[in-house]
């Protein structure tokens, strides 16, 4: 006979664990892509995506919905881990931009073209403000809705939409300009 308060807590914990496990399939890929855009290394992005779920499991006790959906909370953890990773990378003096690896069955010319395109888009993204970049990363690569992105950045979905439009307009201008 468990006390009702304990039983409620146990049920809430189990419910949150089940919810986190159910998000794994869909959000592992999205978090890995989000991390890749920020750290530029595919293997490390994959490791980091796995780490996000482990960290989330450890911190599940501190998760409370309060308007932040669990998937948005995962991206907040991902953001913190990426920042931590970049800080360590800066200390190690590594270059945080990946080059496209030429695999055996890939046409080298196409791979080189992809590499140039990646550099071009990366340079354009760097011209955006920090907040604009984060909005696009969460929307384009994390696949979050504006409302979910807003819950991470503490902004209304209206201001996320406005920031998003301004960011894409600027990105487009930069991409059509040959620099």
């Amino acid at each position: 006979m468990t006390a009702p308060a304990d039983k409620g807590k146990t049920e809430a914990r189990k419910c949150n664990e089940a919810k986190l496990a159910s998000l794994y399939e869909e959000y592992y890929d999205k978090i890995a892509r989000y991390a890749y855009v920020r750290i530029g290394d595919k293997t490390e992005a994959e490791d980091l995506a796995g780490e996000v779920f482990l960290k989330a499991l450890e911190s599940l006790k501190s998760y409370k919905e309060r308007g932040t959906p669990m998937q948005a909370w995962l991206f907040r953890i991902a953001h913190n881990l990426v920042v931590d990773h970049l800080r360590k990378a800066t200390k190690r003096k590594t270059v945080p931009i990946d080059t496209v690896q030429i695999e055996a069955d890939v046409d080298p010319a196409k791979a080189a073209e992809k590499n140039i395109e990646l550099e071009r888009v990366t340079k354009a993204m760097e011209q955006l403000t920090r907040e604009q970049r984060e909005v696009l990363r969460l929307r384009f690569f994390g696949g979050l809705t504006s409302k979910e992105a807003g819950s991470i950045l503490n902004k209304s979905d209206g201001s996320i939409r406005e920031m998003q439009r301004a960011a894409i307009e600027k990105l487009r201008r930069l991409l059509v300009t040959d620099y």
């Binding site: 006979m1 468990t2 308060a5 146990t10 914990r13 664990e17 496990a21 794994y24 592992y28 890929d29 890995a32 892509r33 890749y36 595919k42 293997t43 992005a45 994959e46 490791d47 995506a49 796995g50 779920f53 960290k55 499991l57 450890e58 911190s59 006790k61 501190s62 309060r66 953890i77 913190n80 920042v83 931590d84 800080r87 800066t90 992809k114 395109e117 990646l118 888009v121 990366t122 993204m125 920090r130 907040e131 984060e134 929307r139 384009f140 690569f141 809705t145 504006s146 950045l153 503490n154 209206g158 939409r161 406005e162 998003q164 439009r165 894409i168 307009e169 990105l171 487009r172 991409l175």
Partner: protein, 278 residues
């Protein structure tokens, strides 16, 4: 008008994220095609440049780690359960013991008022959060590391005898954390949380292990920290079933000084506020 266009663009981005085509979105908004199309193409170009599908092996391996961690956690929770809870999970034992307990409980409640008054352990949750105010001196990053031990973050619970006891609040989020990202993104971040006994608390203490600062585009450099120990004598109460948020607002402007020689000195100036959550 602009707001309406923002909504349409937003909807098209969601639809493309869900796998619909650019053409399908444009067909629904013929009057906006000229404005929408270049923006959505820029989106697709950006997504295409970073196209990356995590390897099935990496995903499977990470999933196995996650499942193993989940099982370990479940085992830990089971082990934490008192013996009588474990026994009750077994039907035969339950059936045998239930009758005896019924008799004991009935007897207990009948005699309870004569024995002693009700004493129930009530608990609430303490969350320690941090936020900050902007700095000067061209400082672009401030990394704060909280000492990860029982000296890290702790609260003092008042005792009946006047002594009381210090309770450690375990650090839950990535440590160190970058203070200025909180200010730029207008966030506070959860630093530590623990379920504690409801009641009156009198003090909060925190020990900062180190601070590293980045000026402009330079490298991170360790700051001189004359004393990282912060102590607040501030009575507050934790109520049963409620969350009490202790918000530590770092005033980065007043905390950080850069000397003529470029040495960075950090004397933490922190404003504390207590909020009662739900």
């Amino acid at each position: 008008m602009a707001d309406n266009f923002d909504r349409i663009l937003d909807e098209c981005i969601d639809r493309i994220n869900r796998g619909q085509s650019l053409e399908d979105c444009l067909a629904d908004y013929p009057e906006y095609v000229k404005q929408l199309e270049p923006l959505l193409r820029a989106m697709l170009q950006t997504q295409g440049a970073y196209s990356f599908m995590p390897s099935a092996n990496a995903k499977r391996g990470a999933r196995q780690h996650f499942n193993a961690a989940l099982e370990r956690l479940e085992r830990r929770h089971r082990e934490k359960q008192p013996l009588w809870t474990k026994l009750f999970a077994q039907p035969r034992v339950w059936a045998t013991v239930a009758a005896a307990i019924l008799i004991l409980v009935t007897g207990f409640f009948a005699l309870r008022p004569l024995l002693y008054p009700i004493v129930e352990a009530k608990t609430g949750i303490i969350e320690v959060r941090v936020t900050d105010a902007p700095p000067e001196y061209g400082i672009t990053e401030i990394w704060v590391t909280i000492l990860d031990s029982e000296e890290g973050v702790a609260v003092h619970k008042a005792g009946d005898d006047g002594d009381g006891v210090w309770i450690t609040i375990p650090i839950t989020e990535p440590n160190p954390f970058e203070l200025l990202s909180l200010q730029k993104e207008d966030l506070d971040t959860l630093l530590a949380t623990e379920e504690v006994t409801a009641g009156k608390y009198t003090q909060i203490r925190m020990t900062i292990e180190k601070v590293e600062v980045k000026i402009g585009d330079g490298d991170l450099q360790p700051a001189v920290l004359p004393s990282g120990k912060l102590k607040f004598v501030r009575p507050f109460e934790v109520f049963d079933g409620q969350t009490t948020i202790i918000l530590l607002d770092f005033d980065a402007d007043k905390s950080v000084t850069v000397t003529g020689g470029g040495k960075v000195i950090v004397k933490p100036v922190v404003k504390l506020s207590i909020q009662q959550g739900g």
